[in-house]
């Protein structure tokens, strides 16, 4: 479903519109929020925050706007997650270091090079993971990005947990070889 269709649905029938909006973007919002709240909040916090974001978007997004709905969801998710992280850190008497807040962070000259390099490596790794094909790529992502156990990954992908483990093992081997061929040693 395109953004235009979702906007049209939101205008005509808010309930159907929300369903469409949810189906299209919940995973997107969840991932952004998860990447920010990882290590600070529980999965329930991530779910709560995702629900907050999507309901915020539903209630506040102006369908007549020309701006991208996806970008709006992404920005709302990021801001809400940062807010939540700050709040949780206040509760646990910890504060977010300034450099974690990407929204307000101004990279210093020294950091720019390192950040670019790190960004390049993550992009290369992701590309190589994708080249593993499915379901190996999904297994690696679920395991190392979402920190899911083999059982959880198996349930999500609809395969046997033993198969997940063996596929993961093989996928990592392939990934290592591919990276070594490129001159990258991890």
């Amino acid at each position: 479903m395109t953004e235009k269709d979702i906007k049209l649905k939101l205008k005509c029938s808010p309930e159907e519109g929300f369903r469409a909006l949810f189906d299209e973007y919940w995973s997107y919002a969840y991932t952004i929020i998860y990447s920010i709240l990882r290590g600070t909040g529980s999965r329930t916090d991530v779910e709560d925050c995702t629900a907050d974001v999507l309901s915020d978007v539903m209630m506040n997004y102006d369908t007549s706007r020309e701006t991208s709905l996806k970008a709006y969801v992404g920005t709302t998710a990021k801001r809400r997650a940062i807010d939540m992280k700050r709040s949780m850190n206040t509760h646990t008497a910890r504060n977010i270091p300034l450099d974690e807040d990407t929204e307000y962070c101004i990279p210093s000259d020294d950091n720019v090079e390192a950040e670019t390099e790190s960004s390049d490596i993550s992009a290369i790794i992701l590309k190589k993971i994708e080249e593993l094909g499915e379901p190996d790529a999904s297994i690696v992502i679920q395991k190392y990005f979402y920190d899911r156990s083999s059982a959880e990954t198996a349930r999500l992908l609809g395969i046997n947990p033993v198969t997940v483990r063996s596929k993961l093992h093989r996928a990592l081997k392939k990934l290592k070889k591919a990276l070594t061929d490129m001159g990258i040693t991890l």
Binding site: F18, F22, T31, S35, S55, D83, I121, L186
Partner: protein, 530 residues
Amino acid sequence: MKKAVRNILHNADKKTVCHIAEKYKAADSNTADRIYNKALSRMNLQSDSLEVSGTDIVRRSPAIQRFFLVAACVLVVFGAVIGIMKLKAPKRRPIIDNPVIIATATTATQTTDKTTTVTVSGEEKVSKTTVNRSTSTTSSRSTVTTSHTSAVRNSNTTTAKQDKNKNTTTTEKRMTEQEIIEFERNNYASCMSRERAILKGIIPADTPRVTLDQVRRIISESLSCREIEAKIKAINKYEDLTAFYGTEYWLDGSRNRIIYITDNYMAVENNGGGMITYITSTNGDPYSDSAKKEILFSTAEKLKNIPESHQRERMIVEGFGNYEAPRVSADEARAICSKYTRFFDASNEIKNRYYYPDRLYKNVLEVCEYWLDDKGKDILLINYDIGCIQLIFNADTDSLRREILMQNNAVFGETPESVVFTHHEALIRGKTSNDIERLYYSDIKKLAAGCSTTDELAEKIRKEYRYADITTTSADGTRKEYFALRSPMAYNVDFLILSDNEEYGIEYLEIGSNIRERFNPGTRQFEAVF
């Protein structure tokens, strides 16, 4: 290898995260359903498979709501039908509104070759216009002619025809539609609302205009540009010209004396926000260099007299609210706080319901006040850095009473018996100001270097701050005073803690990293506490 992959993916940049978000499923369908139901409950919508978890309250919409929905639909359809019927009905004679005006005016018109219009107003100066009928084809809007002109000008309007049918002795010569279009074209993105309304027969041609004295009186009684504009509109419903740059009310029918309103509420800092200007000119161009301007009202000027902390008042002046807007009540605040376990959720809900607090103070600590009444005697106080919500009754008197609704004790490291926002309460009573200079930890170290006893240092700190930010009393009777320090880290709040228990003495606490240091009078330095 595994650890490295995990680290790289965990620290992936935004682009990579977005890519993962787009391409891979984030969670299973059960999770999706759970989030969907939570989102619905956030919006107070109901789902059949709504799952109740934890202490979340699920509100089911009452059956009567459906009834109201149907009733609203019927009302809308009924309204639409009536509207269409009215539109299709034959045009009636325009109803003459009787707007509330103080000035009384009389108009005398002579049916001679030369027409003279004399307007006498109780509040305005006498204006006199004399126009030769023979040159009226190119004359301005203020021209008044005899009824014979309707025969000369074939393009005259319905109003003129109606007047003729009624055998009236006078008709106003108005602009034709073509002239209006021409004028609007020359003044880009503008609309001559009054002239068009007259042309369509919505209002009669002699509908009174707002006067300068009326505008001055309205301004003296109003707070915001938006309020003033609404009151002017109540008198003079159709402005003479609306353009992208503002609205013009022509005081005597010509563009030589106008009230000009710019309603750029969003840009107070850049161009003064809403402004009302009285402009006089001699050439019909109020924006020429020769035009004289008198600013009658300026939002920016008005805001200069209102401190930054007076949020609600500022918002009203900026046109975003009104004094009658509802206030939070003590019971409502209690209900909100009892509904949540986390400070963030409760304070967010209060903020969402009552967007502008009456006072918002930011000086290292961020504290806001939502007044329960107009005077600020009873207050809902929220401290965002400590994570505390308190009700304070009789805040400006000695019989002050506090009720803690929500409190995060992480800063105190214990659950104190009482927590008093000493500085803020003194601020409420006008005993101190919010502009006190707060010290850095480095300043405290310098002070410490010159002190040989704890009491000496405590005295110096109290002298600098006058009031502690927070005073707590613990169950064993230990009293601690917390002084907020400025921190080079944007989000950090550091405290200097003076305790009446000699065991603690004077401590420095860095909340973000949990660093705790204690003053040693022997070395005159702060030393780490392990």
